[in-house]
Subunit: 207 residues, 2 copies
């Protein structure tokens, strides 16, 4: 199935899931429509219906989508039934922010391990997680069969850490370092870089 569906469609499913979860938890709504979702997200209702139709028939003409049912389906499609253990590399300000990020909760991920190379930080606790020595990273990823890593390290260290992770069997990397990482094609690498988002917006701003 994964091969047939454009990645750009997959990229919108988490956005739908976030909006639906918000509706269920904050507004107490039971049903919604592609129109309502589209209005909230700035995506056309036709696009939303088309995206979801790749995976089945989730709504009914007239009554729309049952929010909790659609949430459950999307979580299944995105493989979020269980929590994925995540390894975080970097215990600086960003690492701290990530370790304390409440947005992971109930959304399929839990940071279970934190690594750093600073001897002043290694051995301390960060949000109840022991900060481990970077020299142990490869072994841990191998032993625990960790699939997902978050990189919150400086540019100068990012590629080296990525190599260690890939060598140890990691499959997905989310990197905060403003540099394009080199990795084998079967490894998924995504980036969180505020500048990429900001530059996308300045196109539309008058100078």
């Amino acid at each position: 199935m994964a091969d047939d569906i454009p990645d750009i469609v997959i990229g919108r499913l988490p956005i739908y899931l976030r909006a639906l979860t918000y509706m269920a938890e904050e507004t107490g709504k039971v049903t919604t429509s592609s129109q309502e979702m589209g209005q909230r997200l700035g995506i056309s209702s036709a696009q939303i219906r088309k995206d979801l139709s790749h995976f089945g028939e989730f709504g009914k003409q007239g009554t729309g989508y049952h929010i909790n049912y659609l949430i459950k389906q999307l979580r299944g499609i995105l493989h979020l039934e269980n929590e994925w253990p995540v390894v975080l590399i970097g215990a600086g300000f960003l690492g701290h922010a990530l370790a304390h990020y409440v947005g992971f909760k109930h959304r399929g991920f839990q940071i279970n391990w934190v690594f750093d190379n600073d001897p002043d930080i290694v051995g301390r606790e960060m949000n109840e997680l022991l900060v481990r020595d970077i020299s142990q990273l490869g072994d841990l990823v191998r032993e625990e069969e960790v699939k997902i890593a978050i990189l919150a390290v400086p540019v100068s260290a990012a590629q080296k850490i990525a190599d260690i992770l890939v060598d140890a069997g990691i499959q997905s990397i989310l990197s905060y370092a403003p540099i394009n990482l080199t990795a084998p094609p079967e490894i998924q690498v995504r980036y969180s870089d505020p500048v990429i988002q900001l530059q996308r917006m300045t196109f539309y701003l008058e100078t």
Copy 2:
């Protein structure tokens, strides 16, 4: 022009710009090709050529793209000739990480002001920036005609702060709070949420 070009194309230009800048600064290359860029970025060369063709003829058959020329053109298209002053709201761990983020440098943005509501933090300095009281936010945005804001505040505060910003004339918001903000359609709102990126990858992982 902005109306004719799909936003998804605009969204790829910063990715191209980052890769080209890396080539110029780190590898010392003078020219590149859509093939080479594509290989580096995991985007087809045809897609890259098509994206760039919206804005003109930047390459030559046989010699490819002059990297520095293409960088300059892309910076112009994205309105990055001058640095945009940015207001940061939130001086917690994430705010600290953003205030110290080296990735802003020479890429079109500078955080000029930081706000928080915590009396223990207001009045202190963060990376040489005075942390200001949140009650002054609207006035400053209005007086300085700030166009871009970064929100690094908890979910509970995000919408309230967004309302203040919009009311004061902000045009673009990058929010780190895991919540969909409501804003008038003419305001650009983009989100940085690690979970959205992680969920996009777990679709492809075997469980």
